[in-house]
Amino acid sequence: MWPHRSRPRPPKISGPFRRLPEDGLAGGVAAGLAARRGMDPTLVRLALALLGLVTVGWVFVAYVLAWLLVPVAGEDQSIASKAKDDRRGIALAVGLGSMLVALLVLVGAIGGTWVGTIGWPLVISAVGLALIWRNSSDGEQRTMRHLVEPLLGLTADGRRPAIAVRLSVAGVMLIAGVSILASVHGHITYWPLAGVALVIAAIAVVLGPWWLGIARDLVAERRARIRAEERADMAARVHDSVLQTLAMIQRRADQPQQVIQLARAQERELRAWLFDGRAPGSLDELTLAAGVRQIQQEVEAQHGVSVEAVTVGDCELDDDLAALLAAAREATVNAAKWSGADVVSVFAEVEPASVAVYVRDRGKGFDPAAVPEDRKGLAESIHARMARRGGSATVRSTPGQGTEVSLTMPRRAGERQPSRT
């Protein structure tokens, strides 16, 4: 229905139609529609507003009904399902509705038929909004209060001259517009247009600044939300890297060399993050040797054993080698957890055709024939992980002498040579 536009459109959300009050101006109906159709919410809002004018307000009724009947994304219950148990709310709505209908009939009797045409949608919308107001969540109530606030403020702050001027200008325009519309019977065809224009202008004069304010607030709010998310992400990363390292440094306070190493590694990581934008702990752009070092550091930190890591040659990581590293990490953690040995040796060698990693401990070992279930599971995960990518894993263990896990992964063709010659 809308022409495709060249700028990137928001992703399409599938599934049932849901409101998105977080992204919306009022009930999030337009935002929900836009997300479902993969369109720009602003476009949808404009379309709704235009349709509202064309249908003399009936689209607003549809909007309010959608607000009532469509649940918020991620929830099952609509406001209507909550409202049907709200007896006082229903009573209030019925009361308000009947009062407005009475008023409408009265005005219709005095003035003309035009009041009825825009009056009915207004009455129905008002009743719907009353129900929404009583039964929506706190967040939505806040939005509504936010939307209504300036109207209340308009009367409360009436003494301020700017508002008084605005109100009187708008009043004059409104009266002029309404009287043109009221005297429309029969005469010249462009008169009604002028009347509509005057009424719209009056509304714009009264509410324009407030609309601008709402738009500004929304932008600010969204920005604040993004900032909060960024801060949470940063906190998580700092926790995973810097705080972990600080904890390790405290534990190794008596080993100055290790403390220096830790501090240096952390400094490198932090620099890479702050200045090159490479997130700590991310495997992209890592080489195999760096991956082995990472395993070493993490296992040492988490399990308190020392890991003797030796790497010969180096190469870029691809998916296969990342799987190899994941299996190697599993094996190293196993050794750290179960073997009882103080030292785990990890040796990785990059050869032209394959990469091999050996994880060895001189701990208590086990009898492969009598493996406890939990360890068997881990060995399986190592085996399966390697097999899926065309690699192989063998576990050799002798009780009392330790365990060695050998992992081999063929390299994909066309990779560069392993050595740094």
Binding site: Q258, I260, V312, S345, F347, E349, Y358, R360, T421
Partner: protein
Amino acid sequence: MTAPSFSAAGGRPRVVIVDDHGLFRSGVRSELGDQVEVVGEAEDVQPAISVIGERLPDVVLLDVHLPGGGGQLVVTALKAEHPEVRFLALSASDAPEDVIAVIRAGARGYVTKTISGADLVDAVRRVAAGDAVFSPRLAGFVLDAFAALPPADQAAPSFDPEFDQLTTREREVLRLIARGYTYKEIARELTISIRTVETHVSSVLHKLQLSTRHQLTRWAAERRLI
């Protein structure tokens, strides 16, 4: 290999510890316990040269990094005059260039500072007896340095095949060391004697020190060893 020369002091090798951290020196001293006789300590290149020249220990435990320069300066200064003094490099450094520099200067081995006391005593005894001591890390460095060339016994003859390439067996031994195997375990794995393992390791050390192989030379040059 040469006969052990430390029989004088009741079979205990005489050791000098060279390290700029006093705390570390005393730590090593207590870890070695009465298994060796610590005859001196030094904290920098010049003091080390004079102490070692004076006490003539069997083994010098030498930190790769010293304030006055690399540990290789100590080795180079003493090698010609006192070839009987053997050096065992001891470092927390991860940098292959530093380690290889000390080895090429003439050290008989390299162990990391995280080594256990018992293993350190064992390493000192080996070096005193004229053997080479390769930690897993050193084995890794050496494999790296000699990598990307076919083993000596499969390659076309080069200028100096004896020093320029490792044999398949030597590679196997180095790989197993890098994997954390002890000499005993290597011997069992390859069904050879421990003595043969030691011979292979010494031969690798020899090659490392004497090789002028293009590859190794460039490898070293890239790391500013030469």
